[in-house]
Symmetry: D2
Subunit: 332 residues, 4 copies
């Protein structure tokens, strides 16, 4: 699971949530250095938001590097609704294709980040274990394979706690050998809003930091460290417990103030900044909760839907000009 | 997973937590109708607390039926420490034996409650799937089996959402056919304190209500509904999100008051009862969190340790006069 | 996994294989008491064979009770081909519907036989764990559910070696309580031909004998023992090792004779009957192979396809007048 | 799963079986270039056989490279007998230690070969996922860790059919980055004798060829290709179907000849060499059985015992001077 560099902002990996936060603060004025665009699906509740961070001003405001961030949201992602799922795959694959290098004979390395033994963190391994790989066929049986099929390989590096090796070291070692044009890295994320859990897919062309601590640039997976562009695909599957408590607390205070608006409490709250409050909550929770997180009751089943959406979207996006049913014929 | 009838008390299944709450309120005076006794292991951090609810006064105070409630606590339960695990099994099996009917040729039905497809809820199915069963051997090959081996069978009824049948109906149907002397029902529970998650085993001789709503007596598993005593073994594996937020909020208010003791806020808080606050939090969280809960990051691994502790403790307790290594010889 | 009563015929659970054997022996003449009919799918390699055992003559010849046996064969069952899978589901659900009681307000109990902890035997539990159940909705929220939805519940009784209870006892106990109009029992089978493994679905309205030994009538699941019709759905997932060796041996002898036709060996072979040879092979293999069987390398993945075919076919067959996508809306 | 270069010898990965074959052929005379030594455990049925291939003569006779091959056999490996398991771990770890480089501050890379999604082939991934890793602790928290703890990391490269990358490429890429003193590679094997399935551990210091075809030297994992010694640990979990049929056939012929010794068949059989017969069987079986193999009914459970034996043996062997219970304290 990925941890981003934390500003005081309650913990989220989603550009969308950071952007929404900024927009709320700027009272919906355009924010310098950032372009935001939203599109709704005609038939299903599927929303696509593109955020482009244009320059260093935007970079600083967002706390994320210059590049494209595409977020697809749909409550249908976590439901057993095959028809809606097909539409979501259609949207995700179309957006993903825009982020891929536009060249012929593309070679892609799909990397599944995260821990397969922790259910909400197994998204990456589930995808890298199921995506259609073709590199060995292209090498050993090129005639048996359609021309429009590109070169795909996959890697599931594991997590440092179980391998003793930094994830980026494993990936770099393999990437140096097989020299892909692009890495697609899939990871489970943390989000701030309960509504977004298991209902949001974020893609970006700026890379990702698997399990990174604060400011540890070395561990980043990006064009600089890997020698090729890194597209990150993430889905928030957990909420950080302190963030959840913090947000509930904010709502609670609003409710209480609605009942007793003239209260001196308001003054006190103004003295306590958001950051201070968040840290107080962490202080209370940390010793007890270090190892706990908030997740969905039916996460085991939802993971099946989410991985299906993502590996199918990758299959379609990386092999343009060939349908999903035809792609499946190449699967082992 | 079991849900108890809820008084306003933040959601817990643990008699221990309710008792502690009562003791705090009574300022450690003896509470009428309740006898509490605590014992510490000599070598390992293992604490055994016996609560006996003696009469209707105790029943009302605790919100739980008359009977024995034994709680064993140890942080070692969730660690990969085989030596400590052996000691815990020793303590749990000794306590469990006290709750079993004291008769020869005992026949036990072990029932694993909960949903095997949701990791923190799969404790019951994991235990009922691994406990040593002997009923078929006693029937079909009685000579092949040591005399001190009692009759054990097991059942994993599933959850209503996946079977369409009330769990108690399934169990009663089977119990009517095989007529055990006693049912041992295992279930995952919810607790209030983060420290107790995956670190507490509660046993009682008063039965259990699998997935019960409020006041739905029909669904209880107990001597009355099953025709034989029902021993419940439970381990808290999740915290209800609203409870966690509520408790953190209480601590937070204490912290804030420590910084600003003369504040009018205190007055306001006195006006807001614990119950009101809890319900406000539920109101805020419910629509968003209905399907979320707090659990351990390494729950998949911890489940292996917990089920091992419980099925081994049952194996030892129900076959007195035979060692664990000998018992294992009968396992298929 | 089901074991049928064994005549000397090499071990198979498939009526189709027994029928083919009889037809070969009768040199494709009609066999008394048996009606066989075959139909091919127009587009996909899907073959449907209906065998009706009409009377006691047929019963004796087939070694199976009077009734309907429908076999659907397709190599596509074991492949990752969603389009072909949809066609197979269409064929299976249509055939299954013919076997179901033709009445309004149907109540079905789906029973998943077999051992979920042994991959080739987990078909039953996989289906009963995934089929759409509605009985609790019909009881507790009848207004929330479409009229054309029938009453479905499911049960996963486990295997005697892990529960200590005979499977039929568990099912009967539950069936007595919920009184379904019909039981659908799913089980993994053994087949004779390698080609049929994971590529054949057999359905019959005559019940099934889970893990039955020879001639143990008491353990049968059928209308007589369960109080309602029992439809069996089975898929061969393993080959008995002795059967495989025996069949290969036959082919080998044919090959060798082709090379040396005038050999005295032929005389010797005529002296050794099929039955003798099979028992010699069993004698050689039994002590070493008691616990071994022949299965597919990618059985884990194939099980996902097979269970999807069967639970979807049941979902469609038991709720006529409602599409699969609408059915899925009621899932958990 | 590993495939060795095949001489005509029916398919086996076990040096022990090849050696036994040679000894049978040489009528128990010493075989040039090979030293064989056997030792029995005093209390448990555990046999240790050391085969040393001394020179090119032995290399040619065995069809395996010069080096040490240690085989530990025990039927107890596949049983739920914790006491016997502890003894087996003791024997395996002692033998493994002999094969490890004898130096201070050892750095080991444990590589789990095979496919985690195919049960009999998941031994490697199960071990590499559970072995205690320390490399990250040595790097990031050297003070928190006992001096006698060596540097261990692990890698689960996956299989080419699922990754598109040759296994050896993945491993070399990582090994070049972390430069271990030694690689320990674990893999599931094929054996010839049913009795040896899941009851034999083979270790050697000559490397291994994951999924290698015939004569493809490039794919070998050994000192030459990896830049450090490669110790292979393998357990046979399947029998190749053609081998099983071939061996049964041999026994069958012996049985038949015992009944009719003067038969001309004997002459014919002498004309059919072992190799011819094996290839005839393959020809018959191949088209039908390409994807089938022989495995144990309870392979899922046995895999738990086998992986426990191997990862614990590695834990003990690579950290001499520290007990297993202490080692476990470092596990995450």
């Amino acid at each position: 699971m990925t941890q981003t560099e934390m500003t005081w902002t309650p913990r989220t990996d989603l550009a969308l949530e950071i952007g929404a936060n900024l927009q709320a603060q700027s009272q919906n004025q355009a924010i310098e250095g950032i372009a935001i665009q939203t599109e709704n699906h005609k038939q299903y509740p599927i929303t696509t938001t593109s955020i482009e961070i244009l320059n260093e001003v935007g970079e600083k405001a967002m706390g994320k590097p210059i590049g494209h961030y595409i977020t697809i949201e749909s409550p249908k992602m976590k439901e057993n609704d095959p028809e809606a799922r097909r539409e979501i795959i259609d949207v995700v694959s179309t957006q993903l294709q825009k982020l891929l290098p536009q060249k012929k004979d593309l070679s892609i390395l799909v990397v599944g980040l995260g821990n397969r033994y922790a259910t909400p963190d197994r998204l990456g391994p589930d995808v890298s274990g199921k995506v259609l790989v073709t590199r060995h066929l292209k090498e050993h049986a090129p005639d048996a394979i359609d021309e429009s099929i590109n070169t795909v390989s996959s890697l599931t590096p594991g997590v440092m706690g179980l391998t003793g090796i930094e994830t980026s070291e494993v990936i770099r070692g393999v990437a140096e050998n097989i020299k892909p044009d692009c890495i697609i890295a899939i990871d489970a994320l943390a989000a701030r809003s309960p509504e977004r859990i298991n209902a949001t897919i974020q893609m970006s062309d700026t890379g990702i930091a698997p399990g990174a601590g604060i400011g540890n640039k070395r561990k980043q997976l990006n064009a600089e460290t890997m020698g090729c562009p890194v597209i990150a695909i993430g889905v928030p599957t957990v909420i950080d417990t302190a963030t959840l408590v913090n947000d509930t607390f904010e709502h609670l205070i609003e409710s209480m103030l609605a009942h007793a608006p003239d209260h001196g409490f308001y003054t006190m709250l103004q003295q306590v900044s958001g950051e201070e409050k968040y840290h107080m909550i962490r202080e209370i929770l940390e010793p007890k909760l270090g190892n706990l997180f908030v997740t969905a009751k039916d996460i085991d089943e939802i993971m099946v839907y989410l991985s299906e959406i993502i590996f199918n979207s990758i299959n379609i996006a990386v092999h343009p000009g060939i349908g999903l049913d035809d792609i499946n014929k190449y699967s082992n």
